[in-house]
Structures are given as structure tokens and as C-alpha cells.
Symmetry: C2
Subunit: 496 residues, 2 copies
């Protein structure tokens, strides 16, 4: 077999694998957005059967043969990236025994249902046994994956953020924490009263406005759709990228923020290079970079003073009186700082403190330093220490997030990494486009999209995630731009 | 390997295969009901990748090993049915080379798109080359499948109606035709003027009423949902059976009939034996039996005088004045006999004449007696001869149905077989439940569902299709009950 033949065979294999991966994601979308209640048991079987097929393909020994037969010197940058990501994925997949992979798939499917029930009942004890099984399985998997010099947590991080390390993330959090808590104290001490929205926010009007928001932020409706779910997410790539939202009739920001956030994810997927469709080199590169796109659109654009000027007349047209009487007041209401219990509803100052809590707890769980039975108490203690409030119930505490039930340990820090990347990208973008606020104010943020498209989206996975962000910014991304942005924003908002 | 181990391994294999088959069906549902336009290219790749996996599983040589190792004497009726259907499916699958199966999947996916475009443009010439390729591939497949003594058409029929033969179906049509055409002549000569609906039929009101119709006919909304599509169909089984409809704001029967029809299909799938889920023995048995369930609910129940009494006040509540002033007039309007161009809109007298036309043309195509280039002329000539009207354009003629573009040759006669089975089942049901009209009139047709459930739905695939119908009826199903039912119904309606 020649190098050319081997590469062609590899690409054909990857193409089918990518198509099957898209199907797996569609099953999740359908489950959350469309599936009738009695379909759940069948869906678990469908997901398990498809995962068995995908695991067999990932561990197919022909992949190693093809990689060995390909002469990298004959390949372009995309070809070399394809080899890199394929080798990495294959080597990780074969280290995990098929029986363990199947057991994880089965236990996490079950644990997800147990978690949802326990969350409804707000009783951690109902979830603890299932979580203990999941943590034990995830630890076994990390032990299979760990290479010399890596921690167990490092081994898992590679699934979500290639190149990130536990020590590096801990250092990042260490640098973020003092300035974030100092900013929070200054805000708390400002004595400023920030307005809240009030009024009537019917679901249909919220949805219509949310569609308008997604449109102005660059979402392509010919390549997607918007549906309501319990926990919003995005699913798909390129020509079929579906966004989701939920509606709180008392708080229109809930839906609008979710739609702006998911639109940020969606324009990334819609903006990937179609010439590299079906190839690892063309895919989105990591959870951290993904989150940088969603957070930048949600926060740096969507919660900006300029966007509030565009949004204010549309909100009053949609809802009538909304309890604030100017774009400035709307901007302040959209950026109210409060030590809430729920991560997904947190303001930009508190958000990363929520992540730090989870990062430290899940590292302790994985290392075995924290038994699952003690997790709720550990959560509540840490929350009281970090936020100064007592968690009222597990639903607003340890049970609020789905991730651990799905075996996603090492995923949380990518949210903060995304915020850090978004801060760095936004600073670079403002340097290149100093008058961008005027475009946003006019409802023409297309230049934001163009900038992200060429600097990030079209880069796919041609480089490791941190390198893609560094190339887009002209320097390695650090925490300073995010912290400077937050200081500037909240100093103005709270007149500090 | 013991017989018990082999049977357990076979069941596990079948379970995963069934789950993957459900996913394939969900992809089709999503494509028609949900997918954004730009998702089409990806979806074709997804479907092809999944079909490749499924074909490999169907032809897995371990199936033959397991079948050889199982002692049928240790199995119950369901186990023996599982062996029968598995052996049959495996033997058929291995006779078709994987390359041919893949080529058919690819060409029919493409031809479907070409057909949809040609149909919009109403130009058969745009579709003919693609159809010629499909027919050639289907013929090659039939040649692979054909066994001694079978015609090519027989070999294809086995996909849709195990046990049916070309000769048997031709004889059935031969017996139906004289009485159907005689009835049509009597109706045409009756001089009766049948009322038409008129009024305003907004989409939302149609949909709300359609949901009420599905509910009263026994549809379980916890195990399904209703969405709008261009060509209605049903997708799924047991806990997740989704129905679809389309709306014509000028004609509410379009939506109501489709929903009644698809509800008939759906209650069959929802009513299968859950203890035999994931096993061939528990699945719906054939297209003909499936169509018997949909046609019985649509026609024998949904177009009955009794159902019109239940429906009439609900239609006037939903739409105000509807142009007919009594349940009797509604019943007559719903059963208006007219030689229309479109099969799916045909009355019960003309419906089977539409099928006969297709049956004869597709047999000629497959045998090579009719070149694809001559198909439109042959269609138009036959339509003029059978229906006494000139086809105005290909959209209302040879391009109206999707089947041939998808390579479905041998499928059409199962519609008439379904009508014949429905006639026989209805006669038997009326014999068992002589007062069923009163229940339908009262909006309580649950006894129809109960009867079908025990006699048909719960039988799954425990027997061949004709045997299931014969057991339900107490005798082999013939055409007489259908023809007697039509004579009785239209004699009364048209005062013949």
C-alpha cells in the first residue's frame, strides 16, 4: 500500500467516523428537544449501540497501519494535522479496554437519569451511589490513559483541552482569584443600587426577540434552528448547527443570554472551513476555544453598553414597559453582580469562582482525597467560604450541573479557559477594530464575526488550541486582558 | 458454544441491529420534519455511513454460525420466529454484494433529490436518467436475490410482503378490477350531487382538531408527537412513534385523513408486544399488514357515518360554517367519488385503480419491457384509459410518488393488499362487535383498538403476514369483504 493509498483510506475511514459522530450528537439533540417521554429506554439502547460501533472504529488496528504507511512529507498542513489528531485519538482509544468503555457508557446513561431525578427531589443521597460508580470508572479510565509524568486529571483534560495541564490550570485560577475577589469586594462596597427588569415577558415574544438576537449576531437560519429545552446547548456542525434555549417568563435575560451564548458556539461551527469537512483538521479544536466563542458573543458583545442600545428599543417593542427606562439602565440590569447559587446564571465576576469550586472538588474526587459521600458537605462549606451564603438545598448546590453524572471530569475548567481566551481575543479584536462598539450599536456586528471567522473558525484544528488563540491575538493568551476588561466594565457600571 | 450461548449471542446482535435501524429511521424523520436546508449534504453522508454499518452487521458470518449452533427444539414460538426472520434476512443480505448495496444507497439518495426537483419543475425528462440508473441497480439486486422459480419481481416483493408473489397479486388485481370499475360506473351514472366543504380552515385550528382525532383513535402522545412535513409518514416503534401531517388550508380532509391514516400505522407500532422489543418476532410483520391498520382506521373508521357524527360538531366548533349542514352531509363530502390524478387523495373506489396502474408499469420497467424513457407516455396512456382523463402534467402524473426514486419497486401492491386485509379484518371485527358503530359515534372506538391489538398488533411477526390476518379473521383473507363493504357503503351514499 502506497502512502497516497493509505492516506485516502484513512480519510475515508475518518469521514464515516465523523458522520457517525454527527448522528450521535443528533440523538442527544433529539432526546432533549423532541423525544417523547416513553422513548427514553429505546434511546439508551440506540446510544449504546452507536457508541459500540464508534469505539470499534476508533480502535480499528488499520488506523495504526495507515498512519505507519503515510509519508508526512507528502502532506500539507491540514494533512499533518489530520495525522496528529488521528494518532492521538487512536492511541487514547486503544488504551481503554472496550469493556470499560462500554461500562462507562452504560453507567453514565443510567447515572444521568438518577441525577435528573435526584435533582428534582433535591436529595444528593439519591445520586451519591451512582456518582460513586461513575467516579470509580472515570478513575480507572484515567489510569489507562495516564502517561509518564501526568496526573490522573491531566489524562482526562486531554479529552476536552489538548495541551492543558492540571498544574497550568491551577496556576491560572491562582492568578484570577485575587483580582476577581477584590473586584467583587469593591462592587459590594459601592453602595450602588442596580436596577432590575420588571414587566410581562410572554414566551412567544421572548422567542421572537431571541430569534432576532441570533440573526443580528450572525446565525445562519438556513443551517440551523432554535428549539426549547431544559438545559440549553448547541448540536451540529457546518450546514446543520442547532441552538436551544429555555424560557423564564419572569426573566427575559435567561432566554436572551442563552441564545446569545449558543449563537456564539453556533457561528463557530457554521464558520468552519467546508473544504476540511469530515477531517479532524477542519473540526472545532477544543472546549476552551468553543467556550471562548460563546462567552465573547454572550458577554463582550451581548452584555455590552453598545448592544444594550440596539436591544433596548426592541425589548420595549416586544414587552412594553420593562422596568428600566434607558439603554444605560438596561445595560446595568443585564450586568447586575450578585453572589447567586447557580453557575449558569452567574454574572461575569462570580462565574469563574463557581468554576474554581468545581475544579478543586473534582480533582479531590478523582485523586480519592474526597469520598463521594462527603461531596455535598464539601460543596456547601466551600460555597459558604467563597460566596458568603449558605446553600439552601442540593438543587441549588451540588446537584445543579449535569457534568459529573455524565462522567465529565476535567470539563469544568474549560469554561474559565474560554473566558480567558475570550478576554484575550476581545482585546486583540478591539485593537484591530477600535470602532467596533459603533457597529454593534447600529446592529451591524458583522465585523466581529468576520474577525472571529478568519482568526479562529477557519483555523479549525490546524494547530493546538492555545496556539490558535495565540496566533489570533499575536501573543500567548494570559488572564490580564480578561481581568482588565472586567475592571474597566464594572468600574464604569458601579461607579467604583 | 452451546445452543443457549449461541441464541443469547444472536439476540444481543439483533438488539444492537434493531437499535441502529431505529436510528436510521429517526434520521429520515428528522430530515423531513426538522433538518435545516443546508443540512442535506451532511445527512446523505450520515445515512450512507450508518447503512454501511448495518449492511456489515446483516451479512456478519457469525449469524450463520449462531443459527447453525442453535437447537430450535429448545425455543418457544417467538424464538423460532426469530430464527426464521434472521435466517431469511441474512440469506438475502449476503446474496447482494456490499458494493452493489452501497451503490444503491448512494444512487437512491441522489435520485430522491433529483426527483424532488423534477417534480417541482413538473418535468419527467429531468428525472429519467436518474431513474434509469436506479431501475438498472434494482434489477441487478433482484437478479442477486432471485431463487429458482421466482420472477425478478417476486424477489423484490419479499422485502415488503414476505410470501406474496407477482402472480398472486396479479390475480388479486384481476378479481378486484371488474367490481371496482362496475361500482364506479354505477356511481357516475347515479346523477347524485355530493356536497363539498367550503369555509375557512386555518392551519392552527386544523392541527388542534387533528390532535383530537389522533387522541380519540387511540394514539398515545406520551409515546409520540405530531409534526408537519411535505409527505406524511410515520416513524418509530413502541415508546417513540412519531406521526406527521400536512395542511391544505382549502381542504381540511387533507390533514384529517393523513392524521387518521398515520394514527392507524402508529397504534400498530405502539401496540406491539414490549416483551419482544428488539426481536424480529416482535416487530410489525409486513407493509401490507401495516397498511391494513392505517387504511382501516382512515377509511372503515374515519370515513364512516358514525365517525362523521362524532366529527361534525367538532368541525363546526373549530371552523364555524363548513359548507355542509349535517353529519350525513359531512359523511357524503368525505366520501366523494371522483377520478382524480393523485393517488394519496383518491377515494376508496379509485384508490386501487391507481395501484394497479403502478403495479403494471413497474413490472414492465423491471422486466425491461418498458424503457424508462417511455414511462411518462405509458403512464399517461394508461391513466387516460383507466380514469378517462388526460394527465395535465408530470407532477400530477408519473412524478407524483416518491417510491421509485428510492428504489422501492414492489412496494405499491402492498397498499392494495392492505386494503384487502383491512376489508377482511373489518368484516371480522363487525362480526365480533356488531354494535361498534355506536361506540364510534360516541367517540369511544377503544374496542376497535382492543380488537386490533390482540388480533394483530400483539402478534408481531410470530407468523407470516397472511397467516396473521387469517388467524385474526378466522379464514384466509380474500377480496370479497372489501368489495362488499364498498358496495354497501357507496350504494347507500349515492343511493344506487
Amino acid at each position: 500500500v502506497t502512502s497516497t493509498e493509505a492516506y485516502a483510506a484513512l480519510l475515508a475511514h475518518l469521514r464515516e467516523s465523523a458522520a457517525l459522530g454527527q448522528i450521535a450528537r443528533l440523538l442527544v439533540w433529539d432526546q432533549e428537544a423532541m423525544m417523547p417521554p416513553k422513548g427514553a429506554a429505546q434511546r439508551a439502547e440506540q446510544a449504546a449501540a452507536l457508541e459500540a460501533v464508534r469505539h470499534a472504529r476508533r480502535t480499528d488496528p488499520r488506523i495504526a497501519d495507515w498512519l505507519a504507511a503515510i509519508d508526512p512529507g507528502t502532506l500539507d498542513a491540514a494533512g499533518r494535522a489530520n495525522m496528529h489528531w488521528t494518532r492521538r485519538g487512536h492511541e487514547r482509544a486503544v488504551r481503554v479496554p472496550a469493556a470499560l468503555a462500554a461500562e462507562i457508557a452504560r453507567e453514565t446513561t443510567l447515572a444521568h437519569g438518577v441525577w435528573a431525578e435526584a435533582r428534582r427531589a433535591r436529595r444528593f443521597a439519591d445520586f451519591a451511589p451512582a456518582l460513586a460508580r461513575v467516579v470509580a470508572l472515570v478513575r480507572r479510565r484515567a489510569e489507562c490513559l495516564r502517561r509518564d509524568g501526568e496526573t490522573l486529571y491531566d489524562a482526562l483534560l486531554d479529552d476536552y483541552e489538548p495541551g492543558a495541564t492540571e498544574a497550568g490550570l491551577a496556576a491560572m485560577f491562582g492568578r484570577l482569584r485575587p483580582r476577581l475577589t477584590a473586584l467583587r469586594e469593591r462592587i459590594a462596597g459601592s453602595g450602588q443600587d442596580v436596577p432590575r427588569l420588571s414587566g410581562s415577558f410572554p414566551a412567544a415574544a421572548q422567542l421572537a426577540l431571541a430569534r432576532e438576537v441570533a440573526t443580528v449576531l450572525g446565525y445562519d437560519w438556513q443551517a440551523g434552528r432554535l428549539d426549547l429545552v431544559v438545559h440549553p446547548f448547541v448540536a451540529g456542525t457546518l450546514g446543520d448547527v442547532r441552538i436551544t434555549a429555555r424560557i423564564d417568563e419572569a426573566d427575559p435575560f435567561c432566554c436572551l443570554s442563552a441564545v446569545a451564548h449558543e449563537t456564539g458556539h453556533a457561528i463557530y461551527e457554521q464558520g468552519l472551513d467546508p473544504a476540511l469537512a469530515w477531517q479532524p483538521a477542519g473540526a472545532s479544536v477544543s472546549m476552551g476555544v468553543h467556550e471562548s466563542q460563546s462567552r465573547l458573543i454572550e458577554n463582550q458583545v451581548g452584555r455590552s453598553a453598545a448592544f444594550a442600545e440596539w436591544l433596548y428599543p426592541r425589548m420595549t417593542a416586544a414587552f412594553g414597559a420593562i422596568g428600566v427606562c434607558s439603554p444605560e439602565a438596561l445595560h446595568r440590569a443585564a450586568n447586575r453582580v450578585e453572589p447567586g447559587f447557580i453557575r449558569t446564571e452567574a454574572d461575569e465576576v462570580h462565574y469563574n469562582l463557581h468554576i474554581m469550586l468545581r475544579f478543586d472538588l473534582e480533582r479531590a474526587l478523582l485523586a480519592g482525597d474526597l469520598p463521594v459521600g462527603d461531596l455535598e458537605a464539601a460543596w456547601d462549606d466551600r460555597f459558604a467560604a467563597d460566596f458568603g451564603r449558605a446553600v439552601p438545598d442540593a438543587g441549588r448546590g451540588v446537584l445543579q450541573d449535569v457534568h459529573w453524572s455524565e462522567g465529565l471530569v476535567g470539563y469544568f475548567p474549560t469554561y474559565t479557559l474560554g473566558n480567558v481566551y475570550a478576554g484575550a481575543l476581545w482585546a486583540a479584536l478591539r485593537g484591530d477594530l477600535p470602532d467596533i462598539a459603533a457597529s454593534i450599536r447600529a446592529g451591524e456586528p458583522g465585523r466581529v464575526l468576520d474577525w472571529l471567522r478568519s482568526r479562529v473558525h477557519r483555523q479549525g484544528s490546524l494547530h493546538p488550541p492555545a496556539e490558535i488563540v495565540a496566533r489570533a491575538c499575536g501573543e500567548a493568551p494570559g488572564e490580564a486582558p480578561l481581568l482588565d476588561y472586567l475592571d474597566e466594565k464594572y468600574t464604569a457600571l458601579y461607579r467604583l
